[in-house]
Amino acid sequence: MQRCEMPLTDLITYCDYLSGDFAAEASLVNRVEAHLEDGQCRNCQERIRRLAKIESLGSDLFASVELDDKLLGQVVSELPRRSQRLIPLRANSDQALTEAELHALVRSGATDADAVVTRVSFLGDLKTLGAPIHVVARIAVRFGVPLQSAARRVRRALAHTLAEATDFWVQAIDIEVIDVLPPDAAKME
């Protein structure tokens, strides 16, 4: 392949500019682009292509090792506990859950095969039973499932879960669809 006069450092600066890593002087960018666009310098095109391929190998260097189950188990078992604030559930008993447990209860109760509740927010004074509560749930819905019906189903399940487990005065439940999940492979077969 015939060599050209374009310095490799200029090509590297140009690649930095393309990837957004670093600003480059307009004169350099214009010079390199003019050099590449005339279609004459296959050498530089090949060098840029190879630079990109070598760089993509960088992340592959770390891609082939699995995490030991024992280490993973240890990490998970020692995670610091989240929000331990106790939330009273019933007016006529001392029954209570931590805030983290309450979130888990709601996520679990309202998640089904086609929609997963990813995050729950309680707006209002949870510590005071009888105070109005506004619930916002973020959900991800399976591809192909109508969003409105999934949202209605989750809203019903969420209201049911809270009604069964608590004496909260739930004024409103808003559902926010944040993502679409891959189709269910079992249903496609």
Binding site: G58, F62, A63, S64, V76, S108, A110, R138
Partner: protein
Amino acid sequence: MGERTRMDLSQLPDGVLVDLVVDGDADAFAHLARRYGGQMRAMALRYTGNSADADDVVQEALVSAWEKMYTLRDGDAVRAWLMRLAARKAIDLVRGRKEHVELTPQSQGNNCPETRALTRAGIADLEAALAQIPPIQAQAWLLHHGSEMSYFEIAAQLGVSVATVRGRIARARQSLLEQMEGWR
């Protein structure tokens, strides 16, 4: 809590798992840790040079991830975020261990099971090429292209200027391109 079993967490995309983690779901966190913990450990092993330290790095990085996941704006970028967390922890550990010594990527040698798993020809060529260039250049290149840290993050972590980082990475790229001339 039986309803949850209807949804296989391992099938969920990163962004959804991140949202669950922010809400306090430890099972979702375990799935993310399983998905990317191996890559974090491989990277930590390269910097620390031994399994025990690499395990410590991964453990510390994952605990930080659990505590700070709410700061992640784009859940789909969680892999890069986790790799950066682990890289920072690894650098801190090596810096604490070897005061005034330049950090160097560690060659793992052929006896390491993790290395034996890296069989693809391109990766082997890259390993060989990285071993031929100055360690500080290889380190900067790996932090940028392996751990997806920005020039600014690398500069802050290593305590050098952005221009220095950029220079090291540019020289590394030049050397790698020259050494992998025959690679396609």
